[in-house]
Amino acid sequence: MAIVTNKSQRWRVLAAHVFLVCLCALVIFPFLLTISISLRPGNFATGRLIPAEISFEHWRFALGLPTVGPDGTKVYPDLPVLRWLWNSIRVALVSACIGLLLSTTAAYAFARMRFAGKKAALTGLMLMQMFPSVLALVAIHSIFTRIGNAFPVFGMDSLWSLVLAYSGGIALHVWTIKGFYETIPAEIEEAATVDGATPWQAFWRVLLPMALPILMVVFLLAFIGAIIEYPVASILLHSQKNLTLAVGANSFLYPQKYMWGDFAAAAILSGLPITIVFMLAQKGLIAGLTSGGTKG
């Protein structure tokens, strides 16, 4: 840079460093504390940041291992943390697969075909994505009660209902995938069609393999979206064994039963893998979107 550095510049750099270091400390503080709390004995904030005494009781709790109670008997944890995590992962995997399946073909039609109502449908999808499902909770509750009257599998307190509810939210995925398809030259499929491929074969054998990177990204996004969803899961699921992690984690911190240490261990145990997936997807999304680009 051609700008002359003077004395005030040095002070300003120093001030900026102090400010940023303080802010970073504030940002990291909750994470460090959570680790510390999970290693402290007891559920009270009696320790220092670096615990004087390390105890794995909370980790045993989170992993579902028994602890030895005061009277020498084995005490099993009363909250099934691992089961909640497993529920979350199952629901997220299945609904992400269905969502991806539904959006790839729809995006193909939007990207390559001409049909009446295309523009309106695209605008409609855009609008849908702007209304959060939390606004329709009452209706979702009522709809699944009704479906449950006919098919108990898809009724209240069933993970399948949750899968169904999550699979419908494909609006954003369609837009993202459509943007990527449009970056692939249509001539490639046209060549395949000239060679005698049906539109379906051109799509399935030619276009889809080339779109794999964006499909991975959309899958991860749908997966994460389902893992962290709270409102719909909280009204559809009731019994403890059926909860997802987002709903279950809420039951640690009640004034009557304040399981701070247990929560901390469970949060790290389940948050870490999710966070890693989350960060990977963020990276992939930025890469995928910059190469794909969501064009209107």
Binding site: H17, I28, A139, W260
Partner: protein, 511 residues
């Protein structure tokens, strides 16, 4: 694999026909359970699917159908259904539809005046037999063995002692009968003479009579006291001549009543207005704080004289990478009045322990602190991208002119990123307007207002207020909740329209 195309085409059709038949069977099953609306919806979808996949003209729609149908069923339909519910009195008191509420009343029974039977229960294998002794004649009857009724009522026919061929052992203890009282009440015993008995006391069964007899004009005659109750389609209840409501009520259309209640009934209007104002303030301040912090950081991190920028950037991005429900709950613990680390530190340094969760003002401050913490990384990343796009020579020119960093920020940076930033800020506002997860997990809307008759919290935003009315607090006012949801729909739609306009303006600028 080579299959002749003719067979292949027909194979597809046969498969489709099979699917349609299976689907039609499902519709019949749904219809049989009484869910007429659901059956109708299914039928329409099947018909549409069959037409789309058979007609040659609708090729593109074959690809669209599964996705669009799912989106319409699970996104659009709930929205429409919400509006539909908002015009009804659907609530925990008016949960059932009219035919079901009527059936519920017709199933009610009361003990008649005929003689009672002493009741005792005997184990028989893994099952049970009931012994009934006529309190007047002394005749004894036994039922066949039955499993304890659980979800469904059990109907058995009793036989005289001589015909039962059962030697009773020790009867079941009274304590166990008390423990199973709810289940035993579902037990219906038919006597050899055809009378139906039901439980009327812990050791007593008596003939039960139907409480209501339907009459041709749709009213019900109460057999016990001779009154006639009539369904009132305005209030959604069967009512006695004196106007007393008989529970359970049924769902009826009540027009705009829910909306009228929100906007004019002081009981509802008072909290609604306050919550609305707080929602706007909360969303506005959240956007303001996280944007200001994010922008300042973006400017700093673009400053080339500063070292370790990538380290700072990585650390500051962390709050965005961790799933919200985990970090919000971590903060819920950290802010805890007595055991939270934040008060521990404040106590050690300043000797204060602010009651974050019980003081309305502090609770709001806490919500904003946490939301800023959660929201600034996004603003930072977006602003950094936009600042990168500003030509460097503008700053060089201003440096030559002797301008300081503040002048640079307000005269160059801010005006240039304002336009592209505006739609993002508006959508962030719309997001925070419905930031249900934050409010629900951190404060749950509490502390509650002390001066309102219905439960509403000082930190409730509109959507958490709906949630509490519809799902948490007693009453389960689905209709009212749906009406408030509809009002929020309209508000968010308005915000969205504004956003689309600004996006268009931004697009036009680019061209």
């Amino acid at each position: 694999m080579t299959i002749p195309p003719a067979i292949r085409r027909n194979l597809g059709r046969a498969f489709l026909a099979l699917l349609v038949v299976a689907a039609l069977f499902l519709v019949t099953v749904i219809y049989a359970t009484g869910e007429v609306l659901l059956a109708g919806t299914f039928l329409v979808i099947i018909a549409l699917a069959a037409w789309l996949y058979l007609s040659q003209k609708t090729y593109a729609y074959r690809y669209l159908f599964p996705g669009i149908a799912a989106a319409i069923i699970f996104v659009v339909f709930p929205v429409i259904y919400t509006i539909f519910i908002s015009f009804s009195n659907y609530s925990s008191r008016n949960l059932l539809e009219f035919p079901r509420a009527t059936q519920y009343l017709l199933d009610q029974t009361y003990p008649g005046e005929s003689n009672t039977f002493g009741f005792s229960l005997f184990p028989d294998g893994g099952k049970f037999r009931a012994r009934l002794e006529d309190s007047e004649g002394g005749a004894v009857f036994f039922t066949p063995a039955f499993a304890m009724p659980g979800e469904a009522p059990v109907a058995v026919t009793a036989v005289p002692e001589a015909a039962a061929g059962f030697t009773p052992g020790d009867p079941v203890e009274l304590g166990d009968i008390i423990a199973n009282e709810e289940n035993l009440k579902k037990l219906a015993i038919t006597m050899p003479n055809g009378a139906r008995l039901g439980m009327t006391g812990l050791s007593e069964f008596a003939a039960l009579k139907r409480l209501y007899t339907p009459r041709p004009d749709g009213s019900l005659l109460n057999n016990q006291d001779g009154t006639v109750i009539k369904p009132n389609v305005r209030t959604g209840f069967y009512e006695t001549p004196s106007g007393e409501k008989v529970l359970p009520g049924f769902q009826v259309k009540i027009g705009l009543d829910n909306y009228v209640r929100i906007f004019t009934d002081p009981k509802y209007r008072e909290p609604f207005t306050r919550i609305f104002i707080w929602t706007v303030v909360f969303a506005g301040l959240s956007v303001l704080f996280s944007f200001s912090l994010g922008l300042v950081l973006a400017v700093l991190l673009n400053w080339e004289a500063l070292r370790f920028r990538s380290v700072y950037r990585l650390l500051l991005f962390l709050p965005y990478a961790v799933p919200g429900f985990i970090s919000i709950l971590v903060f819920k613990g950290l802010f805890n009045n007595n055991m939270g680390e934040i008060n521990l530190i404040l106590d050690a340094v300043f000797g204060i322990r602010p009651p974050w969760f019980s003081d309305p003002f502090l609770a709001k401050v806490m919500l904003l602190i946490v939301n800023t913490w959660l929201g600034f990384p996004y603003m930072m990343v977006v602003s950094m991208g936009l600042i990168k796009a500003i030509p460097m020579d503008l700053y060089e020119a201003s440096a030559v002119a002797g301008a300081g960093p503040l002048t640079n920020f307000f005269k160059i940076t801010l005006p240039l990123i304002k336009r592209p930033m505006l739609p993002l800020l508006i959508s962030s506002f719309a997001f925070n307007f419905n930031n249900f997860v934050l409010v629900m997990l951190l404060t749950g809307g509490r502390p509650d207002f002390l001066d309102t008759t219905i439960q509403a919290g000082t930190t409730d935003i509109l959507i958490s207020y709906v949630y509490r009315n519809a799902f948490v607090d007693s009453g389960q006012q689905f209709g009212l909740g749906a009406a408030i949801s509809t009002v929020i729909f309209l508000l968010v739609a308005g915000i969205t329209l504004v956003q689309i306009r600004y996006t268009k303006i931004a697009d036009d600028e680019k061209r």
